[in-house]
Symmetry: C2
Subunit: 321 residues, 2 copies
């Protein structure tokens, strides 16, 4: 039980508003460092309050500028904001892409905003899991709203659905390849469509096309994603975009979708964590235990096929336990 446990010192510091403690714990989560473990566990009970708003969409549609504009709007409304930029860095070197690209206004003098970029090392599941935990840390640290921006890399974009309570899919008027991207999974994750750069030609057509696609969709949840036009060059539609988020968050509560969604997300999170641990354990044993080494040898020499080897691993793990 988390509730009764006394908070570790770092967790108390985070709750108190210590940004250095927060940044350190986030780094530890990002690196899969076990030093964050107690902090993450103990702060879970204090999360679940802040809406988590995800922005997904292809590279170059202006998500970072939009996040900046949203932050400005939220600060004007007196809300504090934690921002996570999810960064498709190299799974091998850990080199950062977003490092070169971040255009967020960092507002160093404003304690009501916290920016952090996270590298998407390895599998999409890994960064989704870490981002989920970091968004909870920001929530527990007291930020009213958490914004999560992805950097336009397919699977990570789609994973935003497993993290955010409201997902905004951002496109630009001149679709074309973006239609491909939408087909590649983004369409289904949108709670709100945002046509950014509405100052460009073709904006009305793009909005109408999207609205028609939405009308065709008609998901089972009873929420029809609105299509909002925005611009950060000539500031346009930012209020409307935020109103759409508020409306969707209200819908989640009134419809019962929040609990249903949360339960499904938590189930998949718990199973993901458990499967990862079991998988790491199996990988280790496949080299360490003589009988499992022989099993792998037999697959390499093609005496046993991988599916059969996996069957034995699953059964063997049942017996061994």
């Amino acid at each position: 039980m988390t509730e009764g446990a006394r908070l570790p010192a770092a967790a108390r510091a985070i709750v108190r508003g210590d940004r250095i403690a927060l940044a350190r714990t986030i780094t530890a989560v990002e690196n899969g460092d076990s030093s964050a473990d107690r902090v993450v566990r103990s702060l879970y009970a204090r999360s679940g309050r802040a809406p988590v708003v995800g922005l997904a969409g292809p590279l170059g549609v202006g998500k970072s500028s939009l996040v900046s504009a949203l932050v400005g709007r939220l600060r004007a409304l007196g809300k504090t904001v934690g921002v996570i930029g999810v960064d498709p860095s190299s799974p091998f070197t850990g080199g950062s892409v977003l490092g070169d690209r971040i255009r967020l206004e960092r507002r160093p003098d404003d304690d009501g905003v916290f920016f952090r970029s996270m590298a998407s090392r390895g599998a999409a599941g890994g960064v989704a899991a870490a981002t989920r935990e970091v968004s909870r840390l920001l929530d527990a640290a007291g930020f009213d709203i958490v914004l999560v921006e992805t950097v336009g890399s397919g699977q990570v974009d789609v994973a935003i659905r497993d993290i955010a309570s409201t997902s905004i899919v951002v496109v630009v008027p001149h679709l074309g390849d973006e239609v491909q991207t939408l087909k590649a999974g983004l369409f289904e994750i949108a709670d709100i469509f945002c046509v950014n750069k509405v100052d460009l030609p073709g904006a009305e057509v793009a909005k109408r096309d999207l609205a028609e696609l939405v009308a065709l969709g008609g998901g089972p949840s009873g929420w029809a994603p609105p299509v909002v036009g925005t611009s950060t060059v000539v500031p346009t539609g930012i209020d409307e975009l935020w109103e759409a988020v508020v409306a969707h968050e209200g819908f989640l509560d009134s419809s019962g979708e929040r609990t249903r969604g949360e339960r499904a997300r938590l189930s998949s999170e718990i199973v993901g964590l458990a499967s990862d641990r079991i998988g790491r354990d199996l990988t280790r044993r496949l080299e360490a235990e003589p009988s499992l080494r022989r099993l792998l040898d037999d697959v390499v020499s093609r005496r046993i096929d991988p599916r059969t080897a996996a069957d034995r691993l699953v059964h063997g793990s049942r017996r061994a336990r």
Copy 2:
């Protein structure tokens, strides 16, 4: 043991060269249909012969035309070729992107070529696993070479390393955003770099830049990825590209890297298959078993955090087995 088992009828048909049986089995693998299970298991022993050559790189660099040119070259050399196009379709609707885009010359009268596109439903792991099995089916069906083309979606591109014996990373002279893509994991998977569209300005600079990056890299395996310039408009460099593949395949054999790589890939494949099965089982039990339903309830109500719930699931699964 696979070796002694009598082949199921569909497997015998595939080995005999029956393309309809092959296509049916591939569809079943793609859909995760259990009807393919015995066929896939039984044909594993007949795979491991054909080089599997992967082509990865951003959208629009001309991978499909390059595949087409390679197929032409290989047919001229008297080699038969199986081609798999991995398609970042929607994980939700299964809608195909590549369906609209495929520009491969299909050569309907040539029995020595077989084209197939595969949808990347859901997680990158899913499509990688299915593509790996399909490449083995093509191998068992007798094709001399298997080509795998990805359609430029980050994680799937990187997953090519888990499938191909030789990975070609394709870029175009005007880098820019492609540098980002390279940093996002493609650089490390390249056994060969291909600068396609060398008829465009900047080709020599791009080749030199890549060669410098390669010189800086110097991986531990002892293979320095060559940089080959190609064009399919004014056919250029296709022979050289194929020669680079042959050289890399030779290096794999002479250095012992083939066995090392194969062993690592098979280990991760077997663990992936086993973890998936265990994960599916856990997901089911989390709703079906009263004690696990209560565990999930406690996480939803924030009395227990997800990491602690995952711990109990791992231990519980040990006890239950």
